[in-house]
Symmetry: C2
Subunit: 117 residues, 2 copies
DNA sequence: CATAGTATCTTGTAAAACTAGGTGTTTTTT
DNA sequence: AAAAAACACCTAGTTTTACAAGATACTATG
């Protein structure tokens, strides 16, 4: 035991692992209420082990907007920098349902594989 | 309800979703016994909703081999085409443990997000 | 007044899943 | 017996996307 772990491999894999999951989690977070980009980053960093960067989330949100899964609206603040709030559309909610079923089914499959020693 | 689902988006997302997860599942599958590539594909297609192609798994297995997480060995068959069996190394097992903890922690986080209406 | 934090965005790069092929053998179908 | 399908491996090129590294601009703290 105490094998040497190739941290480069793990880091690369963790980064890899986010792909796809990110969109899913963003939509899940938006389900409860509209959020702005910077807020989503800090929520993500706080609640999950996925440390995502700004260069990741803004293009992603734009993709979701182009697909009409979210809408965005600028909110002028009394003080501070204006925020762009993203809100789930009905289409987004419907897509999230499909994605959720897919993820849940996959998790079940993985559980089954894990248990089948 | 009965929103129109953008199948193009879902298809792209599903494909996206595999990234990273694939390596994890391959290693999980190899944990129980050595397998050959074609076998891993059919196991995958049978047990999960991830339909992976041959052009995906062979480069992936070579990557895992280069990282020394698996070894490979040709097996001459009494009948049929020779198979290249892949086997998890001790290093691979150790890496799988790290990956497993990461995936489990992430799943917990997602559960928490899902429950926080 | 400089620094750290808030908030948005863009460009270029690297990684990897997939498409679309290729090779050759064995089994099944017609 | 010939054709088709399945088995089993592989590679080159395309596309997608997370990230690094930057730009911009406002606010609060020391």
């Amino acid at each position: 035991m105490n094998e040497e772990i190739n941290l480069y491999f793990i880091t690369k894999w963790k980064s890899q692992f986010k792909k796809g999951l990110l969109e899913y989690i963003i939509l899940l977070l938006l389900r409860s209420r509209p959020c702005y980009g910077y807020e989503l980053i800090s929520e993500m960093n706080q609640f999950t082990s996925l440390e995502i960067a700004e260069g990741t989330i803004y293009p992603l949100l734009n993709r979701l907007k182009k697909e009409k899964l979210v809408t965005s609206e600028w909110a002028e603040m009394d003080t501070g920098i204006p925020r762009k709030y993203y809100k789930l559309t009905e289409e987004g909610t419907a897509h999230l349902m499909v994605m959720r079923e897919y993820v849940d089914a996959l998790n079940l499959s993985i559980e089954r594989i894990k248990e089948s020693v």
